[in-house]
């Protein structure tokens, strides 16, 4: 268990809102959703509380296959946050590496990839990517992110 993990999550999400807002939104959504479990897999205390509420109003028992959501603990939320950033870092590096390998394997000499809008009436300029340079930078970044988040991730434990 990490001391103050709820405060860490809050503070980091506020930072992410400024730096990587779409990633912050994905993490918030995942945390807010909670984990869906079958009735038989509800944590004992949660099950007792919910069963108590049903029993008080004579609404029957929680069935083994009924579905319910359980909020993530603060540590689990922190683990989701770290895992999301690690996944993003790994994906950014691997996507560029895959593209670079495609260019090299098929003899595309320029080493550039351009992304352009298909509709000529659109005004956005095409963007060009120097894939080799981008791949190198992304792989350095991934190594750095892994080194920084690895110790934190180990401390938090698993949320799966």
């Amino acid at each position: 268990m990490v001391q103050g993990s709820a405060e860490v999550v809050d503070e980091i999400l506020r930072n992410l809102d400024r730096e990587l807002p779409d990633i912050a939104a994905q993490i918030r959504e995942e945390i807010a959703r909670g984990r869906m479990v079958k009735g038989s897999k509800l944590p004992e205390r949660v099950r007792q509380d919910r069963q108590g509420a049903l029993t008080a109003q004579r609404l029957g028992r929680i069935g083994e296959n009924e579905l319910a959501e359980v909020p993530y603990t603060d540590d689990e939320s922190l683990a989701i946050l770290c895992d999301t950033l690690l996944t993003l870092a790994r994906s950014l590096a691997a996507n560029r590496r895959a593209l670079l390998n495609l260019l090299v394997d098929h003899g595309i000499q320029s080493g550039h990839v351009t992304f352009a809008q298909p509709d000529e009436t659109q005004t956005a300029e095409p963007t060009s990517l120097q894939v080799e340079g981008e791949t190198g930078r992304a792989e350095v970044m991934f190594g750095r992110v892994k080194g920084l988040l690895g110790p934190a991730r180990e401390e938090v434990g698993s949320w799966h």
Binding site: V2, Q3, V8, I12, L16, E19, L20, D22, I23, Q26, E30, R33, R35, M36, C82, D83, T84, L85, T87, L88, A89, R90, S91, L92, A94, N95, R96, R97, A98, L99, L102, L103, H106, G107, I108, Q109, S110, H112, V113, T114, F115, A116, Q117, P118, D119, Q122, A124, P126, T127, L129, E134, R137, A138, M141, V145, L148, L149, P151, A152, E155
Partner: protein, 220 residues
Amino acid sequence: MALTKGELIAAIEEAIGALRTVYTDAAREADLYEAALLTVATEAAEAAGGDCLITNDGVSAASSAVFRTQPGNLYVGNFTYVLASFFGGRQVEIHLGVYVAGKSGVLHECDVAVLDQKEAERSRVGSVHPRSSNLVAAVEAKHYSASPRLRVGREFIGLASEMGPSKCTLAFPAPGGSNIMPLLAKHPGECFDELIPGTPPADLMCGHITQKIKNWINRT
């Protein structure tokens, strides 16, 4: 030794700073993810015995690659695609971000579309959209680093019912959550979570598309 709260925050914020040196915006990273999945589909075509040409005109090798940022008509523009040629003369084309007509006659975007080459050629010659009946395989790419919401799964099921459920694959880099995965497990379209190029899920999807292409070759 346990990290203090301050150390933990500092480490994560430094990691975010490192990410910001590469990550520009969601749209560009989504484009790059789709392009990376095109490479997986290309490997699948090669594993099925195909000889792959990266081309802008269907004849010569491309000198540089140009991909769509948004879905477009296959027959408009000189965008890069993969032409895979198989023993016996059969060919497929692998395109990024093209519209394909579904069973209802409505157009849908295919992030990665593996098409019978004759259907793609028909599209170019007649300025008509390729039809899902001649789609060999399609990949719906979602560049989510956290588990996608349930709506993504529902939309995929809708797309798959239009394109042919067994032809469609959903892929995203995050581990699938406890809501979307049970939903998709009950449908014939395949979902590959944790799909990052160079990892075992990418190999699994590659094998899946390879089999789709092999089945198509053997059927036709």
